[in-house]
Point group: C2
Chain length 599, copies 2
């Protein structure tokens, strides 16, 4: 059995139905990204990761990494997997064609990333972070920086990192103390310690381009005094080739529960006098630059939620089809049946599949909205921008919380074998658990949604989006097989309205009331948005069925079933969340600290 099969057919379906690909490729910027072109790319791309990366996934998990003073040694099989990736040129998917990228829209990149992540989540951190670093330099770097660094990063010969976290500064990045002192030649001396730096040191690329947050000597305190610096592992020679080693060192790597083959580094800058760095963007504007990148990174983590869940699901559905145990109820077969026939196993599978499609639709719609914001103008563009702002924390948090749940269910399908590492599904479970944490914990996302996104244009941006989503209720009118779904969707929007109104009103009087309900509110919104997109999926599948069913009758009918299952059986969870959203903060504080600590 294959280690992983990129779900290319499902990715293409999402691209057609949630990805707005025809609208996006109607623009000048993305005119080369027609559906047909992308279809061809996806087929080749999926095959590559199935064949080249997937077989290295379990090896990376068991072999892990080796740290020494000289650096970090990655698993042996990764060298070849990475070399072939560079050779194939996949790194450039969504990157600037002026520097060698393919310039595909974000929606194409986002969907393609499922293959990268699903085939090897640990290794996929390397291209993922490099893409983030490239996007940041594309937007904020000087012409010279772009010319010197981007071409090699876009081929994947060099990689990139993001250096935000310090021991005392995690979610609270304003507490950073890394220093950057300007030099006469225009460079800066960087000193400080950064932690949790993924692929901060490794042996897969010729150079590593660190993007580092630090403070200049006169910078104001807090987040307004943070600047961004480019600090290469090897300083470049005149001709652009890597030369002298910079004063940045990986002093240790973390021993983690999952993504074992992704080095999580402690980087020490300036142990021997200071690393040489160059300012990216303007002084004290570092967080603005990081935020551009962070939206993309949060979307990417949402995709991880789906991709790892999908990889685990594949294993579960295969196992359920092979494992013989118990009789089939209502059948006269006497021998043991594959467990896939049992209603309870079937429920697990359908729940997983529905969740995977819903989260995929959400990140796909978000990525497409980003593309729309870039290819439209004026009010239109602003509307798409607002949508991106609102959906980003939801996609990051909801898709990863769901991802953990789905991966856990996949493990459960295996019974005792799921707990044995040999089954492979436990690796997905361990790998997945980081996604609700990094790029801003899911609690931070919930606070972002409630504290920063709901208030955009006094709440009007949110109201506009919800009004558009709610139109699905009209579109479903008269569609008989969706009648029960429609009723649940309508009820969900009512719950959402109640919850939103409560948060807006109470949050003004006491922000703690809004923050106390932020996490259940985000889930409520995630489920409702998921149902909206699943209903659209069902309508799109119906249309394709009516128009010749090129994707296959069973495939398309399956998409309607999962949409119905999601709306009828998963979406009702919204009913249970409003009480938690609207309960206020007081009950959380009435318990005294000592009493809280017991149990």
């Amino acid at each position: 059995m294959a280690d992983y099969r990129t779900p290319t057919k499902d990715l293409l379906f999402a691209l057609r139905t949630a990805g707005m690909i025809d609208q996006i490729s109607a623009s000048k910027r993305y005119e080369h990204a027609t559906y047909d072109v992308v279809e061809g790319v996806f087929e080749e791309h999926g095959r590559f990761f199935n064949e080249v990366w997937a077989p290295t996934n379990a090896l990376g998990d068991t072999e892990g990494l080796e740290w020494s003073e000289e650096g970090v040694t990655t698993p042996e099989s990764f060298k070849d997997a990475w070399a072939k990736y560079v050779e194939a040129g996949w790194q450039g998917m969504n990157l600037d064609p002026d520097y060698g990228g393919m310039g595909f829209p974000e929606v194409v990149y986002g969907l393609s990333a499922e293959a990268t992540i699903g085939s090897n989540a640990a290794l996929s951190m390397l291209p993922g972070l490099t893409t983030g670093a490239v996007e940041l330099l594309q937007n904020w770097g000087t012409e010279e920086q772009r010319e010197r660094y981007l071409p090699k990063m876009i081929t994947g010969e060099w990689s990139g990192t993001m250096n935000l976290t310090e021991p005392q500064a995690g979610s609270d990045v304003g507490l950073s103390t890394t220093r950057a002192v300007p030099q006469d030649d225009g460079s800066y001396r960087i000193t400080g310690t950064k932690i949790f730096i993924s692929f901060g040191e490794h042996d897969l690329t010729e150079n590593i381009i660190h993007l580092v947050l630090a403070r200049t000597p006169d910078a104001p305190a807090g987040t307004r005094g943070i600047s961004l610096f480019l600090v290469p592992k090897f300083l470049l020679e005149e001709d652009g080739s890597p030369g002298e080693r910079n004063d940045v060192k990986c002093v240790s790597i973390e021993h983690k529960m999952g993504i074992h083959a992704s080095p999580t580094c402690v980087l020490s800058f300036g142990d021997e006098g200071g690393a040489t760095g160059w300012l990216v963007g303007e002084e004290n504007q570092g967080l603005n630059a990081m935020f551009t990148m962070m939206n993309a990174a949060r979307l990417a983590v949402g995709v991880q939620g789906t991709a790892i869940a999908s990889a685990a699901y594949q294993k579960a559905v295969d196992y359920a089809g092979e494992r013989l145990q118990g009789r089939e109820v209502g059948s006269d077969q006497r021998g043991p049946a594959p467990i896939i026939v049992h209603p309870d196993v079937r429920r697990m599978l359908l729940e997983m599949k529905s969740y995977i499609e819903a989260t995929r639709n959400l990140t796909t719609h978000l990525a497409a909205s980003l593309d729309m914001s870039r290819t439209t103008e004026g009010d239109d563009s602003e509307g798409w921008d607002e949508r991106v702002e609102i959906l980003t924390p939801v996609a990051k948090a909801w898709c990863t919380d769901v991802g953990v749940q789905v991966t856990s269910t996949a493990l459960q399908v295996f019974g005792g074998m799921g707990f044995i590492e040999e089954s492979g599904v436990s690796q997905h479970f361990r790998d997945q658990r980081i996604t609700p944490i990094y790029e801003g914990t899911n609690g931070i996302q919930a606070m972002d949604l409630v504290g920063r996104k709901l208030p955009i244009r006094g709440g009007a941006a949110f109201a506009d989006l919800v009004a558009e989503m709610r139109r699905i209720v009209d579109e479903l009118e008269g569609v008989e097989e969706m009648a029960a779904s429609r009723a649940e969707i309508q009820a969900a929007f009512d719950e959402l309205d109640t919850a939103t109104k409560w948060i807006m009103e109470h949050g003004i009087a006491d922000p703690r009331d809004a923050l106390a309900g932020a996490t259940p509110y985000l889930e409520l919104f995630g489920l409702t948005a998921g149902a909206w997109l699943m209903a659209r999926q069902a309508l799109a599948a119906r249309e394709e069925l009516a128009n010749g069913a090129d994707a296959g009758k069973e495939f398309l009918e399956g998409k309607i079933t999962t949409a119905r299952f999601f709306c009828e059986q998963i979406l009702p969870k919204v009913r249970s969340l409003t009480p938690a959203v609207t309960s206020g903060h007081e009950i959380l504080y009435e318990i005294d600290a000592e009493a809280l600590a017991s149990t």
Copy 2:
């Protein structure tokens, strides 16, 4: 900071309020188990595990086990921890005083097990399984078997195992093929392979007493042809001391995601002609014997759910009190605050604490019901028996599903540090994940509830229990601070009635309809039973507050707060489950196998 603190005060509170200890110790059988006596025992017991076992937990996880042809080597620190445990005599807590046990009721044993498990979940498997084996021999062994084996097992000098699973026979134990051929001397020759045998081989005790399911030559097929055998690792000499090595061998151990220091063995019986075993109970009655033990084992796994969650919670609440990050909303403090002040973190903590108390109350009430069934007669006893039958699958499945969720939330509180093994919380997360699987997967429990337990006395047993539970609604009348809780509880019972009625009616026409909704139905019942016990907790705490508040005002008020939080903010989840319970099986089967496999 301590590795683990047994929550003795909370355990004693549960014993007083959910554990019916006064009723139980009013019986002749348990007259020595008064609350005051148990209080003294718990204090000593908790201290022992905090001091002796807890420091070995992380060591066991990292050191793991070593297998060789000669056997399994456990972590170095376990030798001392086990020797001291035997010396202290804790193994005998609930076991027969005639053979050296302390003869405490199951409710005392169940609560005490939180210390054993919370301090070291992997090592706790050894006494847990030994207790199960002893109980089985107490009930089904011959007088001679009891006299020869029990005294050493009750001290913990020897241990016991349960051998059910074979590669082709997991949930479906009727597929077992291990053979037992009678010999002239009254013994049997056992041949076959058993897998997933916890502590099937190890170096902590002088002898290991395997209890093994096998088929005699003329046994009927399926579960009705299974007998139970006692197969010691070392055959006993005339004087009862371990002598010749029996023909049973550990051929390998599993590489698992968690409980690394608990050897999960493949045992091969009879590689050199046959292991010598003796029949326990009657031929072909093996499953009956196993079922006695299985109820206790399922209760014990429910306790694991709570215990591991509680251990993880302690780490989270400590971390939240120390980690400085972000400003306190609504405060004029400028410096970073401990994250415990943030509403979202507070929500996580209160949700965890409420869930832990609810699951603890449920296993406590179940264990106490078992004691009541043993100390009452006639209809009373039968009523308690029925309650045990009904609550057992719920306690096993709901407490472990909740346990996984709580442990995951505890990890989330740590942010990035939670994913680093050094934090210790990730070990709990990995250890916990086995609990929804073993002793019958939670799907099996749900099917047991719906297929075997609901139909007891044509549904009357279930109706009687629910009617008694529902009386809490009257008891809460007029209790102002519980008014919102009361409304939610009333609504939950209405949901439960609707769901139960649907299952009973539709399950008769087509069992697949009942089975399709079994898992959400079990959760619905678990939440409702949890709320019932949490409401009782609140009333009990109010009473203690009125009667002098010996346990401390803040402690008792905290118990009311968690009860309210559970009823007001967690219990509403029941609203979301009825649609899934009552949707029938058809939607699960309308999707075709190939379409199901994609994604």
